[in-house]
């Protein structure tokens, strides 16, 4: 198609045609990546096609954009209703990973205007219905991979923890207590303070379950709170505290375990010895020797403690065993220690 160049501006039948216009168009067009062939251009565009055309990752990204730009409270409330519907729908559908993404979209690193914080808190509370929690908990326990709900449980936090704790106290919980404690631990991963606050509960069995859950939550920031209940009256709680601390500090000498060797409860001491045995730390030998030298523990205990030393290897182990064979210790277990140390040394090799 040829364009008439007879005049820059041609007036034909009352219509003005600007020839420069076309030249301008071409100039712009020619300046745009003129070297790319059609095939290259298409390939370049096709390469930008996303892998996924739907799903919660895209949906939640969009949702956070909406939260960011919405400044009208009535419309913000509508967004919260959408959010609530998405979380609930995913829970009912058993897609806990997607539900977790939706939960996190609202709760993590808030992007919405601060004045809507109260609305968000209310929406989260409204969503936290017992019926939905029951669906979640029973679905998770019946399913094969409760870890898919890691994000959801950790993001849900306090309301879910409150529900799970309530299930510990009822006669007929929706799932067994062991499962509840496991889910409590997952729920505490987002903010373990929601769990540690429950250590003040007056019921020993609640405290015991919470302590176990804290150990499963894996947050070392909970250690001070655990130490605060290390001397709890009920030895079943003290046992769980020891285990929880051990779980949180697997590479360290379980200091609580050394202290617990003097606990009046044989159950507590038994767990402490097991923890020391399981610990890979080289400092276990030094710690146990110190305990033995202090004369702490029953005859049966000291024999097992010496065995813990003898199970390890290295010059410091031989040195410790030799020292124990000759050392006169305070308390009534001195002979037992020396005897056990000699036996151990006889069978010990580098």
């Amino acid at each position: 198609m040829a364009v008439s160049n007879s005049s820059a501006d041609v007036d034909t039948a009352g219509v003005t045609w600007h020839d420069e216009q076309l030249q301008r168009v071409r100039a712009v067009f020619d300046s745009v990546d003129a070297n790319a062939s059609d095939a290259e251009l298409r390939a370049k565009v096709l390469a930008q096609l996303p892998d996924a055309f739907g799903g919660s990752v895209l949906g939640t990204r969009l949702f956070r954009d909406l939260l960011r730009v919405e400044h009208r409270s009535s419309r913000f409330l509508r967004l919260l209703r959408i959010w609530s519907g998405k979380v609930a729908a995913e829970v009912w559908a058993g897609d806990y990973q997607a539900a977790g993404l939706w939960m996190r979209a609202l709760t993590e690193a808030p992007v919405f205007p601060e004045e809507f914080s109260q609305l968000v808190a209310e929406a989260k509370r409204d969503l936290s219905r017992d019926s939905l929690f029951e669906e979640l908990v029973t679905g998770l326990v019946a399913g094969e991979s409760p870890e898919s709900a890691d994000l959801l449980l950790a993001s849900w936090g306090e309301p879910l923890i409150e529900y799970l704790v309530s299930q510990i106290t009822v006669d007929e919980p929706v799932v067994n207590r062991r499962s509840i404690v496991q889910l409590l631990g997952m729920a505490g991963r987002g903010d373990v303070r929601h769990l540690t606050a429950r250590l003040a509960d007056p019921r020993w069995f609640v405290v015991r379950s919470v302590v176990t859950a804290i150990g499963k939550a894996g947050r070392v920031s909970a250690l001070p709170a655990l130490e605060a209940v290390a001397k709890y009256d009920d030895d079943r709680v003290r046992v769980e505290v020891l285990r929880a601390v051990g779980a949180l500090t697997p590479d360290e000498v379980p200091s609580g375990a050394l202290d617990a060797l003097g606990d009046p409860s044989s159950k507590v001491r038994h767990v402490a010895i097991s923890l020391l045995r399981a610990s890979a730390s080289d400092s276990v030998v030094t710690g146990v020797v110190e305990v033995l030298e202090a004369g702490i523990g029953s005859t049966k205990d000291v024999v097992r403690l010496v065995e813990i030393i003898a199970e390890r290897r290295g010059p410091h182990v031989r040195e410790a065993l030799e020292r124990l064979t000759v050392r006169k210790l305070s308390g009534g277990v001195s002979r037992s220690v020396r005897s056990a140390a000699r036996d151990a040394l006889a069978g010990w090799s580098e």
């Binding site: 198609m1 040829a2 045609w17 712009v28 745009v32 990546d33 096609l49 959408i82």
Partner: protein, 430 residues
């Protein structure tokens, strides 16, 4: 009889009917009826009367099929069928009273038939053998179906994505990916349902570009869904602001700027395949490639589909009439797009779009060296073909003649009114 005359009459009838239905002021209603009277007078010049008939979902003016007007006035077609009106015969000197009765009847606010004898209903029943019957283009029916899905959003305030996806599937099935047909059909407009028609046009143009880029069917479906719903937020924001006949004031403009987030939220409140992308496109389609535009997000790159829809959206908006400015030619629209390449629009996509359309997109009306007027019909594969729609002496051809435009001298580009031909009406002649 030009299809444009029929279209003008239908537009005037639609205006008058809405004026009555909306209980506009007496003066406004009277003006609308006077305009209708004027349109009738133009229609009956020469023969003294004219008959608008409805046969098989299509308007006919006397014997001539009004294919494009049937799509443009899809809602009126339904309203007339609902009231069992098969034909409207208009006489020279049609009175304001009769025309006012007709408008009220169509609007559903009165059951009074025009009694003065200058407007007669169901008097002239035409059989198909009397008519210039041609099969409507396959795309027209799904186009109407798509309009209906959007009307339902407004009517019921809720969105059913499955229904919208079915409309998109239907469009794809009937050949929406064909660039030439899509661009011709996308010239259809309706002044009272601007958003719905614009949305379907953007859907057609986006899918044509997607196909041209090499998208697979599944990708086309999601793109089509997103494009069809890109302006769904306009349905829920203050429609009064959107219907403002003049330029928008600050407050109205602020309302308009909310439609992307309203649309995205509306889509997310529904459920169905592709809703995430559709919502993203609804939110992002006014964000420019340089990050400006609205709403203000975090500055990350917008989705590929948002960038495609932004181009189709602008192209259709520029080539469409708006109350505050006239429509511009397809070529002028390309110029605007090109000038925005790299700032407003994705440069690669603009290149592809122009490769798809050619310098003169299908539907362009061009005056050529010998004085004839041609409409560009096909620019694919480097070929440029068209139809001669007006002879050198100005006569509109009833049977447009094909023409190869490769070596034709171009004199000027014409607007629809200047050419006296509606490009969309030629879809059935291709």
């Amino acid at each position: 009889m030009s299809e444009l005359l029929g279209k003008n009459f239908l537009q005037a009838l639609s205006n008058a009917s809405r004026s009555v239905a909306n209980a506009d002021s007496e003066a406004a209603a009277s003006d609308a009826v006077a305009a209708l009277q004027g349109a009738v007078e133009v229609l009956v010049v020469g023969s003294g009367e004219a008959t608008l008939s409805i046969v098989e979902d299509t308007f006919y003016l006397d014997r001539k099929m009004l294919a494009h007007a049937s799509t443009a006035f899809d809602a009126m077609l339904s309203e007339l069928k609902e009231r069992k009106i098969d034909s409207i015969t208009l006489m020279r000197g049609a009175t304001a009273s009769d025309l006012s009765d007709l408008a009220a009847l169509i609007a559903g606010v009165s059951d009074d038939l025009p009694a003065g004898g200058t407007v007669r209903l169901n008097e002239s029943r035409l059989s198909p053998s009397d008519l210039d019957v041609r099969p409507l283009h396959d795309l027209r029916r799904p186009y109407s179906f798509s309009l209906d899905t959007l009307r339902e959003v407004s009517r019921y305030g809720s969105l059913h994505l499955d229904g919208v996806m079915a409309a998109v599937d239907d469009l794809i099935e009937r050949g929406a990916a064909d660039a030439s047909s899509s661009m011709l059909l996308a010239t259809v407009q309706n002044h009272h349902e601007v958003t719905y028609y614009h949305s379907v046009n953007v859907c057609l143009l986006s899918m044509a570009l997607g196909r041209f880029a090499g998208f697979e069917r599944d990708q086309m479906r999601i793109l089509g869904l997103a494009a069809l719903l890109h302006d769904v937020g306009r349905v829920v924001v203050d429609e009064a602001a959107l219907r403002n006949p003049g330029r928008l004031g600050n407050e109205e403009w602020a309302q308009v700027r909310l439609h992307p987030q309203e649309g995205a939220a509306t889509i997310m409140a529904a459920s169905g395949a592709g809703q995430e992308i559709a919502a993203i496109v609804a939110l992002e389609h006014h964000i420019r490639i340089d990050g400006s535009g609205y709403p203000e997000l975090n500055g990350s790159e917008t989705h590929l589909f948002s960038r495609i829809v932004a181009i189709a959206d602008s192209y259709d908006a520029i080539t469409s009439f708006r109350p505050y400015r006239p429509a511009r030619t397809p070529n002028e629209a390309l110029r605007v797009l090109l000038e925005g390449a790299g700032t407003a629009y994705d440069t690669d996509l603009i290149r592809l779009f122009i490769q798809m359309t050619g310098e003169y997109p299908p539907g362009s009306l061009l005056k050529i060296g010998d004085g004839r007027v041609v409409m560009v019909t096909d620019t694919s594969d480097g070929s440029r073909s068209g139809l001669v729609v007006r002879s050198a002496d100005g006569e509109v051809l009833s049977e447009p003649e094909p023409i190869d435009l490769s070596d034709v001298e171009l004199l000027s580009q014409l607007m629809v009114e200047e050419a006296g031909v509606d490009p969309g009406s030629m879809l059935e002649s291709m």
